[in-house]
Subunit: 180 residues, 2 copies
DNA sequence: CGCATATATATCAGATCGACTTATTCTTGT
DNA sequence: ACAAGAATAAGTCGATCTGATATATATGCG
């Protein structure tokens, strides 16, 4: 989903500044299936404002640099719904961990197992973190996505735990060629 | 992982043309955790050739347009190993499906359930497709990643199947507001 | 007091995406 | 038999996205 639609989606839940939009996209459950950078958000908001899809309100002072609070207009809501009615593009995962694992034969066996153990620890930490997000009945989809994320990370961790020994056995000798 | 490293990784398994590299990256198990476009691969190969990380050999005729066959050099192998020894960046998932699901309250209930059913069907098809890839003992990592992928898709499908009824119950009325 | 982190907006080079172009061969349906 | 379409093969190009950096102030911590 492009950054403009992402911004509209966050604003649909309530007005926010560019900084606040980024914070929400960086938190669960958004962080589970999306990510963006300031370098995409600020230009996107400027263009949405030009198009009339969002309204801007400058909130001065605050003892901070000025805050530009954006809110959805009727046109913005129309654009968001149009995007929501498009057939979804396929998922796209980019995982350095799986890439490294796939090329584990070029690394020492110990390093690969270390990577796997670190991965398991990271997944466990993520499950714990998501588990702490208190469920709120007013946002059913929020909770559903949270549970989906927890299930996903838990499943990944379980596979690695269940197959770690087999992987260790599979990996050749004490260490393979480290090139040159 | 950047496209240059991806190209080096594929080439480490044997020489190939840009087109063939793309095909391999589009097939399992690479397709499970990476994707790239021609627009990234061809410039990357040109730069790798300039740097001396790959050697080019023009294979003429073939009854097709000329084929440029690339192969890894010692320098290329060094660069690949250097990249493999870097700590892996975190995973990045981009899923339009989960985005749509999260904003399911802006869509008719029927459409959301349709989306979920389609998703389950897609995941089942993926599991079946990966299951058909014959295991080959000579490439243990290949098989391991394949199994990991199957487990992942199967887990996702199971969660959706197990929670479909609850989701249907959660979604408000016959259909929610469709904007405006 | 100094250092790190949080708030807040923004730019910019470089990387990437996706659609398009060109041209030939192989496959598939009717 | 023949047209249509997919596959092979290399590439370009505008739009977009990433990640680092700049700028400035406030708050928390030892």
């Amino acid at each position: 989903m492009d950054t403009r639609t992402l911004c509209l989606a966050v604003l649909e839940r309530g007005e926010a500044s560019g900084y606040e939009i980024k914070k929400k996209l960086d938190s669960p459950p958004y962080s589970h299936f999306q990510d963006t950078s300031f370098g995409s958000i600020y230009p996107a908001l400027n263009r949405l404002a030009e198009e009339g899809a969002v309204a801007v309100r400058a909130q001065e002072q605050e003892k901070r640099p000025d805050k530009k609070v954006y809110s959805l207009t009727a046109e913005g809501r129309r654009q968001l719904c149009a995007a929501l009615h498009q057939p979804p593009a396929g998922d796209r995962l980019r995982s350095d961990f799986l890439f490294l694992l796939f090329h584990g034969d070029l690394l020492p066996k110990e390093r690969v197992l270390e990577l796997v153990d670190q991965r398991i620890a990271d997944l466990d930490a993520l499950v714990a973190q998501l588990g702490e997000c208190c469920p709120c009945a007013s946002k059913p989809m929020h909770d559903f996505l949270l549970e989906l994320g927890i299930d996903h990370y838990r499943s990944s961790a379980r596979f690695l735990r269940d197959n770690r020994a087999r992987l260790a056995h599979t990996l050749a000798g004490p260490h393979a060629q480290v090139a040159e």
